[in-house]
Amino acid sequence: MTSPSITASGAKARASSSLGFPLILLICVVSSAVLYFGLSQLDSSYAFLAAYTVLQFVALATAWNILGGYAGYVNFGVAAFFATGVYTSVIIYKTVQWPLLVTIPVAAAAAGLLGLGMGYLTLRLRGVFFSIATLALAVVLNTIVVNWSFVGGSRGVYVMRPQEIILFSSYERYLFVVMLVLAIGSVLIARTIENSWLGRGLAALKDDEMAAECAGVPSLRMKLIATTISGALLGAAGAPFPFFVTYVDPPTAFSLSIAVNAIAMPLIGGTATWLGPVIGALLLGTFQQIATVTISSALNLLIVGVVLVIFITVAPNGIIGFVKDLREKRR
């Protein structure tokens, strides 16, 4: 019963890889260049900051999807990894003051390590147990940060942006470019995983873990790789955050809205392929950004909730799945 579905997802993966990697890379580079110069034309740092927020969600949604979408392991503890990135950044800022570009890999490594550790601890758990364990992890980390005065503890910590930044006319632009690179990097990594033995293995696990194990898929190793990469990318996306808000306290770094968005966006876009989270994040992120500055009341959140529920109900496989269904029907 399982072998047909494994081959099916394998076929799907091959189909999406019909666009070669160099071509995708080229598209990314060209589109980001267009985006950058397009935003520059607007002559406003608002565009860059708004885009930063949206791109941060692209990175988070993509990173979450590596474990949640491909392997079907729902990570509720996105905030734990994001905050690990945030606080690694804070620690580096308060001690050695390395530049952001050096901070990001360190933050990614720290969050990746956390992912590996969490994987060892919890990956034997199936389904919702795993999800709850990740939620607990976020609470435990939150408590540790609250009690750790060096990183500001519960009072929070100020992070000053550097005065000058080479090559860029403003720090907002710099932050934007950093997040753009992180988002594209995450997407490329996710896409590479999807088309590799790892992606096919994870898809098999998602279909039927027991059968996959019987068929010789090294499930634990695969899941550990997936949690590590997913965690690292989530952490990397958190590293620039202190410089974005300049003041970080635990409720901000462990914010529920981060977790909600990182999960809702892939679901709205579609979890099966790398494109789903990207579309979901672009749509929902942009929508939230617009709603914040237009509706700007409690209704804003209400609308996000309603949109989410409607989408989930009408298009349960996300936008990607919906479009695919439409095409198949037409055929």
Partner: protein, 418 residues
């Protein structure tokens, strides 16, 4: 009404001609004041009340004919109590909406997140209840409305320990307890120092996490140390929880209270009612005769009439007068320099003293009030749970500082066992 407004407008417009190159255009386009405000999430209670105060001010100003002959328009967005939304909100306000002036949202976190954006544009920045937010930035166009003074953390407990020190017999021990969040930690830090200075021994010193449900075990642990004084640095839900637990466990001490956020709000006053008797707490304004600044009664009346419809605190004693005063300062400064130039405005605000509904304000180091004015009040004669009684004088007696004092400290605090 219309006639009056027009006449006023013309009168003010005359003065504006001197500074503005295009007075005709200026008359048609309003002065936009932008800010993000917490209308949802954890800070929304304060945020919505502050927004109402701003709105009352804007209506009044417009009824008087506006600022510099131009109407005033508030442009505000909901920051959802989430600092991550703030940088984008302020850049939108400044770049896209082209607001003329900005003020901060409610509380520290959103203020801090707005700082880099505001600083980059060189805007004058009045902030509302942001604790020591400028200590790091050292921005010279920043002014803060909460009367903490430059050394905020000591102020929340200064009056408390001053009074304690002078009691006879002098209290020997103090228990410190507070919420594990920004304010609680800060208030406790200050209390620790003040206790040391006053020569009072700390016998319990712990913080509890936000969302703690049961304070019984904490209060019991405190009671076991038999402190003479109990100083609390808490947030709204836990302020109520602590006071209830104190009565339930039966903790008696010379003085109980201190830095409890939430007791200033109608909801908690009403709920705790008689349990508040003899509790001491920091406050910023209470309707005592010593605080009868010009305009404050009228403002509160207007606010209280509209509070229910706006779904905000029905008394509005804590944040709204200061939010209103903030706008009064902005108004006075704009009228003073007859321009919207940020540098001139900042220089003017720094140099002058302002008469507002919360008294005379002069700014000092880092944009904090030059002289701190945190009040220590004591609840007296609270009967039942009627919220109206808190509008009267004599219920929230000011016991410190001396110049606003309206009554003497009454000791000891005795728990009500029912």
């Amino acid at each position: 009404m219309t006639k009056l407004t027009r006449r006023q407008t013309l009168a003010l417009a005359g003065s504006a001609v001197a500074t503005l190159a295009t007075p005709a255009l200026a008359q048609t386009s309003p002065i936009k004041i932008g800010f993000g405000m917490a209308l949802t999430g954890g800070l929304a209670g304060g945020g919505k009340a502050a927004l109402l105060a701003y709105q009352i001010w804007a209506e009044e100003v417009n009824a008087r004919g506006g600022l510099l002959g131009r109407k005033v328009e508030l442009v505000n967005y909901d920051d959802q109590s989430n600092p991550a939304t703030v940088p984008a909100i302020y850049t939108k306000l400044l770049d896209i909406d082209k607001v003329d002036l900005v003020v901060s949202g409610y509380a520290t976190v959103p203020t801090a997140a707005a700082m880099p954006v505001v600083m980059q544009k060189g805007k004058v920045f009045l902030s509302l209840f942001a604790l020591a937010a400028n200590d790091q930035f050292r921005y010279d166009r920043y002014f803060q409305m909460q009367p903490n003074g430059p050394e905020a953390k000591f102020e929340f407990s200064r009056g408390y320990f001053n009074l304690a020190q002078n009691l006879n017999p002098k209290p020997k021990t103090v228990a410190l307890v507070g919420a594990d969040a920004e304010f609680g930690v800060l208030a406790l830090e200050g209390a620790r120092e003040n206790a040391k200075k006053a020569g009072i021994k700390i016998v319990y010193d712990r913080s509890y996490p936000p969302n703690t449900m049961d304070f019984g075990s904490i209060v019991r642990a405190i009671k076991a140390t038999k402190p003479d004084l109990l100083f609390i640095g808490s947030y709204p839900p836990d302020s109520a929880g602590m006071i209830r637990a104190i009565h339930e466990v039966g903790l008696d001490a010379t003085m109980v209270g201190g830095g409890m956020i939430g007791l200033q709000f109608a909801a908690l006053k009403q709920q705790l009612g008689p349990l508040l008797n003899n509790v001491v707490c920091y406050d910023l304004y209470t309707p005592e005769p010593t605080m009868n600044f010009p305009g404050v009664v009228e403002f509160l009346k207007k606010y209280q009439e509209r509070a229910e419809k706006a779904g905000v605190d029905p008394l509005g004693l804590y944040i709204p007068p200061f939010a209103y005063a903030e706008m009064q300062i902005l108004e006075a400064a704009v009228n003073g320099v007859k321009s919207l130039d940020d540098k001139k405005l900042a220089d003017y605000i720094r140099a002058n003293s302002f008469s507002t509904v919360v008294g005379d304000i002069k700014f000092g180091d880092r944009g904090e009030w030059a002289k701190p004015r945190i009040l220590l009040i004591q609840y007296r004669g609270i009967v039942g749970n009627d919220v109206e009684q808190f509008k009267q004088a004599g219920k929230q007696v000011i016991i410190d500082p001396p110049q606003f004092k309206s009554g003497d400290l009454v000791v000891p605090f005795e728990s009500v066992k029912r």
